[in-house]
Symmetry: C2
Subunit: 110 residues, 2 copies
DNA sequence: CACTATATACCGACCGTCGGCATATGCGCT
DNA sequence: AGCGCATATGCCGACGGTCGGTATATAGTG
């Protein structure tokens, strides 16, 4: 799973959000580093809905503008949990190797 | 940075490795989940070399077959460290939100 | 009056990866 | 002897996901 997709699921794990609110939340949790493009977001939303990881929560009309809220499904929760575990493991391995480089000089690492 | 690229840098963070050894190491550290395609690997190696994140360590001929070893540069170390930190942060946020869902029912989360 | 923010949605372009193929040698099995 | 597998680098076309831009529409701010 790519980063934007992961971040979209994370945004929806907090609470049901509509598209634009997802863009804002992702920008917030990445410290401003990732600002999702509209094209990326809505394409991903459709795709994730097709995969059953998210679903439409409800629709609201605010100031004659549609807001379509999405929420994480049970499958989406499981998937996000699995992806999180994977990221954490990979980060741990990389950090262990980087640390070993700074300590011993030239030795191999597990 | 995408997952295969991250894993290639992680493989080279352990010790200098030639292409095929990178494929094997990535397979090992992902528990068999990721088996890099030759096309992916060598294209990524060229690209990372162009970005200055890795460089050729040495070349050996073993059984009349070439082995080109690559190693991480200083810039590569820094980059891998930054990416690891990013993965860890994102995993932490996702996990916190998933945990909150199982505890309170329907509340918003930071 | 123009610009920005809000909000959804489509489109072409691009990049990285996938999957397959080519090439070459040595090893183990039948 | 012949076949497949592992080793090893590398090219190629296809594909999927993201980018960047545009369209549409309304409300608020300078």
């Amino acid at each position: 799973m790519n980063e934007p997709t992961f971040l979209i699921l994370t945004a929806l794990a907090g609470e049901p959000r509509h598209g634009y609110a997802v863009i804002e939340d992702v920008e917030r949790i990445t410290g401003g580093r990732v600002r999702l493009r509209a094209g990326t977001l809505y394409a991903a939303l459709d795709r994730l809905r097709g995969e059953g990881l998210i679903e439409v929560d409800r629709e609201e009309i605010v100031q004659s503008r549609l807001r379509r809220y999405y929420r994480l499904t049970g499958a989406g929760e499981q998937r996000l949990g699995a992806e999180s575990a994977r990221l954490r493991e990979q980060a741990t391995i990389a950090e262990r190797r980087l640390r070993a480089r700074r300590t011993d000089f030239g030795g191999a690492t597990a």
